[in-house]
Subunit: 227 residues, 2 copies
DNA sequence: GTCTATAAATAGATAGAC
DNA sequence: GTCTATCTATTTATAGAC
């Protein structure tokens, strides 16, 4: 149970993230965060200015990570646009997997109009959108995507990932009550599904919806690989 | 400023819905709800057992309405499956428009694992899913839809509507900061976009995405529903 | 850096007057 | 039905010992 120096802050952040995700900003008490981190409440105020700064720091870190990740994808000169979309979706799902507290926190933050996000956090959040927009534009410029509204596309591709992962507990509860199909739908299948939708929807040509009868594309992007 | 009898309860519910949507269950104080309803806090406890019952009642009413609406759509023998999907999406968007507090409340409730929903509320919620499942099955049986996983479909079609409408304040804030395209994307366009995706994704044959030959039906809101 | 103790404000909920 | 006043628990945050 020995703690290495610098760990305290990290432990508090981890505990806070879990509490904020589960109960929201108001529902998560500083006491509960401290208890989960196995520290005293005063410790939190030693390391952080107040509850809100702690909260914002967590979100900001998440936004920054996805922002950097998706920026790298958008910048990759070797990657065709269709592959970039796949990677973009993967980047979101990777965040959700490695930071499971992010989807719930983002859902709540959207729900209350992002009132707790300062300008800096909003900028970081908007960069994710911006990176998607750039990919769409490149695809359109190269003629492989049809012109697509970035906002519409963002909400059809990004938010389902957030929602799906955030709703895992509810889906499991419904499955236990036998109101959902017993067969669990895992995130990997969902992501695959979303990618295929993205491909279909963004395709430039009046291409068919069904891949069944689809002629083999000569040498278009066939990006199945995960990040 | 005269109140007709029976209005008190309604006023409290309206105020509570707005507060819950904006601040969440824990963030919305009974005092604030009472103040918004222009009543005293004690009035709330006269009409409702406690804060949580009031909260659940609001959600339950919303679920029940969409559940009934979508059930009627699924049951409609005259409607082809593709049109039913359109109507299903409309039903969700109608709820979001007439009950703007529902999307935020649903997002928050998902985020915390629906811990406040009793079995009855969960049943009402699951009926919405069930109605979509029935439409998909019918379409598949009739050969006009490809077999589609109802859970995957639910999360690609339903959650974007919720998320999009719940995020209206944030989108507007970002637009004011000029980080989003100035041209506002309105809900109608988004719904149209979603319907076209649904059609493309669900199409059985390598058929065109265009809804060329759909019978025109006046899409009308259900009678006697909430203002 | 970490703790105990406590201040100060606010929460949900109730009693009882009218 | 509606109000004022209040009880009790919990909240964020801080002071100060070690």
């Amino acid at each position: 149970m020995k703690r290495t120096p610098g760990d305290t802050r990290t432990a508090i952040i981890a505990a806070a993230a879990a509490e904020f995700a589960a109960h929201g900003f108001d529902g998560a008490s500083v006491d509960a965060i401290a208890a989960r981190a196995r520290f005293n409440k005063a410790m939190i105020y030693y390391h952080f200015e107040n509850k809100q700064r702690l909260y914002v720091e967590i979100l900001r870190d998440g936004f920054r990570t996805v922002g950097a990740h998706t920026a790298a994808i958008a910048d990759d000169a070797d990657l065709p646009p269709a592959a970039k979309i796949d990677r973009f979706i993967d980047a979101l799902d990777d965040m959700a997997a490695s930071r499971p507290y992010m989807p719930p926190m983002m859902m709540r933050e959207m729900a209350e109009g992002a009132v707790r996000l300062d300008a800096d956090s909003l900028r970081l959040l908007s960069r994710i959108f911006e990176n998607l927009r750039r990919i769409l534009e490149e695809g359109s410029r190269l003629g492989v995507f049809r012109p697509a509204d970035p906002v519409l596309t963002y909400f059809t591709l990004v938010t389902p990932v957030i929602f799906f992962r955030a709703s895992t507990p509810v889906r499991e509860a419904l499955a236990r009550q036998h109101v959902l199909p017993a067969a669990q739908v895992d995130a990997t299948r969902f992501v695959t599904h979303l990618k295929s939708i993205a491909r279909t929807v963004l395709a430039a040509s009046p291409s068919p919806a069904a891949p069944a009868k689809q002629k083999k594309r000569t040498r278009q992007s066939r990006p199945g690989e995960h990040a």
